[in-house]
């Protein structure tokens, strides 16, 4: 029985890891090999031609930089804005608190897929398409992140905030210098999750970019599948490797935190 489970699990691992291996193997093949012996897993020799082609066909570094800048800005802004909002919602008493909280929670259920048409028609005439602003600002606030930070702040003792006030700290100092370090696990999880999500995002940059200087990596890699003649899969897969590897490395390095971010939602 146990052995059976182990075999089944090994098969499961193969189903999930196999495609990655296949992707990497394909990227080292030549077009000829793909046509002649497409099912043979190991490239006859490791050619970097496909990568060379990807890097010469696309300004890969520019796209990668765009993706990283965009994802980082979104992550930083989400954290930076969730802190004061989460603090106010968790710790301060004021009129309209319930309304504010309900507003935040309401936006939790409205994904960008619902709002993209009007947002596009709103941002368009403002000349914001093809700008980093259009890529970042709609995601500068994460309703879910705000909620998570609020939850984390709830468990911070009031005394600490009072002590800081007596020590002479202003509210911004309290938020960014006293409370931020305290909820750092939440912030880190939030940032990582948001980074990975937006780095990989295709939907929004696809609609908001038409220019090379602002195009992001997933959009560009999807374009590698040039239609009309035969798709040159070794090149597409090389692009895919370039797109996937940073995320997979980040995943391996920060697996715990990413897991926490994912499960936080379920457990909160």
């Amino acid at each position: 029985m146990d052995r059976l489970v182990t075999v089944a699990l090994a098969l499961v691992a193969l189903v999930w890891v196999g495609p990655y291996l296949w992707m990497v193997a394909t990227s080292f093949k030549s077009l000829d090999e793909l046509v002649r012996a497409p099912a043979w897993p190991i490239p006859s020799r490791f050619r970097l031609d496909a990568y060379r082609e990807v890097f010469s066909a696309l300004p890969v570094w520019r796209y990668t930089l765009n993706s990283i800048v965009m994802a980082t800005l979104i992550g930083v802004l989400q954290a930076a804005l969730a802190l004061p909002a989460g603090y106010a919602l968790a710790k301060l008493e004021f009129t309209g608190k319930r309304v504010a909280f309900v507003l935040v929670m309401a936006c939790l259920i409205i994904p960008p897929q619902v709002t993209f048409v009007p947002v596009f028609t709103m941002l368009g005439p403002l000349g914001l398409v093809n700008t980093m602003t259009a890529l970042v600002v709609p995601f500068a606030v994460s309703a879910f992140g705000t909620f998570l930070v609020r939850q984390a702040m709830l468990s911070v003792p009031n005394e600490l905030i009072e002590a800081a006030r007596l020590d002479g700290a202003g509210e911004l100092t309290i938020i960014y210098r006293v409370l931020a370090p305290l909820v750092r696990p939440t912030l880190a999880a939030m940032f990582l999750f948001s980074f990975v999500y937006h780095y990989s995002d295709y939907f929004w940059p696809l609609m908001m970019t038409t220019d090379d200087h602002i195009r992001t990596l997933p959009v560009a890699v999807a374009l590698l599948r040039e239609q009309g003649t035969g798709v040159r899969w070794h090149i597409v897969m090389a692009g895919n490797v370039v797109l996937t590897m940073p995320v997979l490395v980040l995943f391996i390095v920060a697996q715990r935190r990413i897991l926490r971010a994912v499960t936080a939602r379920a457990l909160s």
């Binding site: 003792p157 005394e159 600490l160 009072e162 002590a163 800081a164 006030r165 007596l166 020590d167 002479g168 700290a169 202003g170 100092t173 006293v178 370090p181 305290l182 750092r184």
Partner: protein, 358 residues
């Protein structure tokens, strides 16, 4: 520089659900003199913490004034009040080292880095934290955290120190040690301090003067000795002293078979356990109309080492008595005990002390 804190008619009402008001503080007047350690004591919910929070600016009073050296602080935000507070949970910043915790208030006030380090070193020496300065709070023991919290308060050299039950999270032994240190420290600094505790023992040992509070009102403000020897009312009498004062209601006394009350001068009669003296059966020669006479059975003996507490059941009323060392009657034995008339405290119907006739 002298410091004088005056609270004038200070009231605080909290609005709860359905606009129900709770009165946490009712028109409190209080003065803390320069260099004085005044202890606010009372059961939980008596409003003592509210007093501290109003002084610190963490709450806004409903009425009244907080005057520090004549200046009304009510409109001044906590950041701008020259007041330091040590919290029950210490409220240390967990991500900062002991030194950084202590330097924080200075940094917030724009003190230069060099001076900060200097003052932190001094403060650390005063609180006895020399070699632990680079540790995080989580790496320190409870007592050490307490010292850091103290250090963070004194490093600012504030006009006024506020202590909100700073020792209650420690175990008994450490608490006893630290309170001595704390008193010495406050004396040495010549600081003016307001100290809140629910522990009357702590209040007695530490205070220059004690303010006993109950239900948002001041019950008595005086030196520990006066509070103990001449409690202003039945509440203070019962609250101060361990074990607490024996209280007999005159109305109830006829129903207590073993108890005889002599001359009555109020509604309630109280006497401290140490006032109870056991007499040999038959050797009871005193005038039965003076003081209190109790006949009963020993139901509990609590030896403490230097003293022993004996509980005597006079058929309906248990009296706590204190005897030196391990002496005193045996468990189960029948005894006769007496309290001299001069050692009785009398209180009227409203609980107010009735002074003996001159």
């Amino acid at each position: 520089m002298t410091t004088r804190l005056v609270l004038e008619g200070l009231s605080k009402r909290f609005t709860g659900r359905g606009a129900v008001h709770t009165e946490a503080l009712k028109k409190l007047d209080l003065e803390v003199r320069d260099g004085e350690l005044l202890v606010l004591v009372g059961p939980s919910g008596c409003g003592k913490s509210t007093v501290l929070r109003l002084i610190a600016g963490l709450e806004e009073p409903s009425e009244g004034r907080v005057l520090l050296d004549g200046e009304d602080l009510v409109r001044v935000p906590p950041q701008a009040r020259d007041v330091a507070m040590v919290f029950q949970g210490y409220a240390l910043y967990p991500h900062l080292t002991a030194a950084e915790n202590m330097a924080f208030p200075l940094e917030m006030r724009g003190v230069s880095k060099v001076e900060r380090e200097q003052r932190v070193r001094e403060a650390a020496a005063i609180v006895g934290l020399g070699d632990k300065l680079e540790r995080l709070p989580s790496e320190l023991s409870g007592g050490e955290r307490q010292r850091v919290a103290m250090g963070r308060a004194i490093v600012r050299r504030p006009k006024l120190f506020l202590f909100d039950e700073p020792l209650s999270n420690l175990d008994a032994k450490l608490r006893a040690e630290l309170r001595v240190e704390l008193v010495q420290l406050v004396r040495r600094l010549g600081a003016t301090a307001l100290y809140v505790t629910h522990d009357q023992g702590e209040a007695m040992t530490m205070a220059d003067r004690i303010a006993v509070m109950r239900g948002g009102e001041l019950m008595q403000l005086d030196t520990p000795r006066t509070i103990y020897e001449r409690p202003a009312n039945a509440f203070v009498a019962g609250f101060v002293g361990t074990p607490s004062m024996n209280m007999v209601s005159v109305a109830d006394s006829p129903r207590v078979a073993g108890l005889t009350l002599g001359v009555r001068r109020g509604a309630t009669c109280g006497f401290r356990p140490e006032s109870v003296r056991f007499v040999k059966d038959g050797a009871d020669t005193a005038n039965p109309t003076e003081g209190v006479r109790l006949e009963g059975r020993v139901v509990l003996v609590e030896p403490q080492g230097a003293e022993t507490f004996v509980h005597v059941d006079g058929e309906g009323f248990v009296v706590r008595a204190r005897v030196e060392g391990f002496g005193g009657p045996e468990l189960g034995s029948r005894v006769v005990a007496r309290v001299g008339a001069a050692e009785l405290h009398w209180f009227d119907e409203s609980g107010r002390r009735v002074e003996p006739l001159a």
